[in-house]
């Protein structure tokens, strides 16, 4: 498994459980400080979240410990490894590509209201097509421009959603385009 591209290895096998446990412990601390007034014989709004958090901590501690023991070569005869054969097994994803795509999305969202929907989306769609491995630039640019215009048309004229027009010169560009699309 460790030789498969993108598969979890070594410390990574235990890390997620430690992180989940840590986050749950922090949230449990927060849950102890919810402000409310409940009758003495009744459960408060912290009851349900605390129950969930205890379950998360117990499950992640169990699984983390089991993986730690099995990683150290201890025979895990006493531990139950309840796995199910699944038709959903698939090739692991290359996380570098995934995070490049996430980074592109974050930049897109950060600029969404500044640059406006049109320009921001054209560049974003173009970058996604590029990340996806499509390398014909002019075709990709044409596709991203047409796709963005179609999105604008559908969302502005069919679903009636006000898309951001941006600020400064971007606002002028967006409003000109919207005029062309018949949106006033």
């Amino acid at each position: 498994m460790s030789e498969v591209r993108g598969a979890a290895t070594g410390v990574e096998r235990v890390l997620p459980y430690a992180m989940v446990f840590g986050v749950a412990a922090f949230l449990l601390y927060r849950a102890q400080h919810f402000e409310f007034t409940a009758p003495v014989d009744q459960v408060g709004p912290d009851s349900w979240p605390k129950l969930i958090l205890y379950m998360i901590m117990a499950t992640s501690a169990f699984e983390g410990a089991r993986r730690l023991l099995s990683a150290r070569g201890v025979r895990s005869g006493s531990a139950v490894v309840p796995t199910i054969e699944s038709p959903f097994e698939r090739e692991p994803a290359d996380m570098r590509v995934v995070f490049t795509c996430v980074a592109a999305s974050l930049v897109y969202l950060a600029l969404f209201e500044i640059v406006g929907f049109f320009l921001d989306t054209v560049v974003f769609v173009l970058s996604l097509i590029w990340i996806g491995g499509f390398r014909r630039f002019w075709t990709a640019l044409a596709i991203s421009t047409v796709t963005t215009l179609l999105f604008m048309l559908v969302f502005l004229r069919v679903i009636y959603v006000a898309l951001p027009i941006g600020t400064g010169p971007f606002e002028w560009l967006s409003t000109s385009l919207m005029r062309l699309l018949g949106v006033h």
Binding site: A7, G44, S47, I56, S60, F62, P82, W130, I131, F155
Partner: protein, 509 residues
Amino acid sequence: MHTLQLLLAGFAEVFKPLELLMMFIGLLIGMAVSIMPGLGLVMGVVLALPFTYGMALAPSIILLTAIYMSGTYAGCFTAILYRIPGEPMDVPLLWDGHAMTQRGEAAKALGWALVAALTGGLFSTAVMTTLATPLSNFALKFGAPEYFAAVFFGLTTVVALAGTSIPNALISLFLGLLVATIGTDSTYGTERFTFNSPILANGVPYVMVLVGMYGFGEILIKLGQSLHIEAPAARASTKTRFPSLRELWELRATFVRSTLLGTILGVVPGAGATITSFVSYAIEKQYGRRGDKIGTGIPEGIVAPQIASTASVAGHIVPLLTLGIPGSGATAVILAAFLLHGVQPGPFLFSNPESTLVVYTIMASMFVAVIGMCLMGFAWIHVVVKVLTIPQAVLAAIVIMFCLVGAFADRNTVSDMWMIVIFGTLAAVFERYKFPISPMVLGAILGPLAEDSYMRGMITYHRDWTVFFTQPIAGSLMALSIVSLSYPVVKALLARRRQTTAAVEYPDL
């Protein structure tokens, strides 16, 4: 009013222009997304969700249900003709379907798939339509403990069938339930886990979890997997040839077995079309008259999985309508559409004539959808399979845009788009560490219902938690939940014991 009368009234509604148009569009979308590897029917309903915001309830649900229904069928074309499974549920169709194609029997294989989808879809819809009113009457007896137990049962079966390790599935589920607690608590008005953020004060809309994890996240994973699909080697004919009556009669046992299995498994939360399809194929291989020949290109290998996957649709829809509990990703999106229209599915839907008509309109639409998808598959599939020629990178970019702009359209706020990216990234991380996504999504959707019934139960019975186990219906459902959770553990223990015994008896092996 009698079920049949209600159903006829439903048919009258379905044949109105807008409803019919939505069904047509839904069937087309369902076909297109299900033959495209990397999309899938859940993605189809997720992407169509924003377009339902401005529609009335009935056409919205008809659109989504039609996508769901035809999504279980159209994948058979690419699986049988090109050996490209559009969805995991189509994988069993490869083995026998494509083997028949290689022998020059593609038209016949497609004919068997069509008859199977038609039979499974119609039978299961008829059974579920008949059971809808009795089920809703039964559900009316549910108090808080029973509702909690029903939701608990749904969630535990999702965990048990999530297709990965049970601890990972449990953590995923608990995280989903935890996400649902963010925001202002409905009983006491207390802010929970909001960190003084006004965005979080209203909670995390489960639509964002749903679209983020099933839509955006799925595409991130596909991009990470290089979006590799093999292009069809040659243009195969999409012509369909129906089996003769004699051939159908010979496979009667397979038809009956798979239809019943698909319908029953459909009701089980978590057992989506994929699991149903695989189980039906395995059962046919084990108990079928020609089980030993399954995999070599015989019709039973097409009929069994195809019937079961299409039959599972009605099996999933009716518990959603009568109990308000979705058992699969697609029904979770349909639940979201109901809630976005201010309607809570459940037994009370049957208590007023207007909403009862909506329910039976949806059921009638399922009958029409089954027939419609078969007709469209028969006549137009050669047009629909052309989506395979769209570059995957372009398709991925378009889907991501649908997810983001669709999220923005819900409340006109960029914060919802941020949530999509956060949950999408989480889905990719889940995939890497083999945490299943479905339990988290269903946890986020059912969390408020679970908490509400838990709180009501605890308040009504003065903190006596045994009430969830001692009431007859609730206790039975809790017992079933424990069985469903224990089953994979017991199975793993038995497998290990067998391995240990074999190692002791045959140390040289």
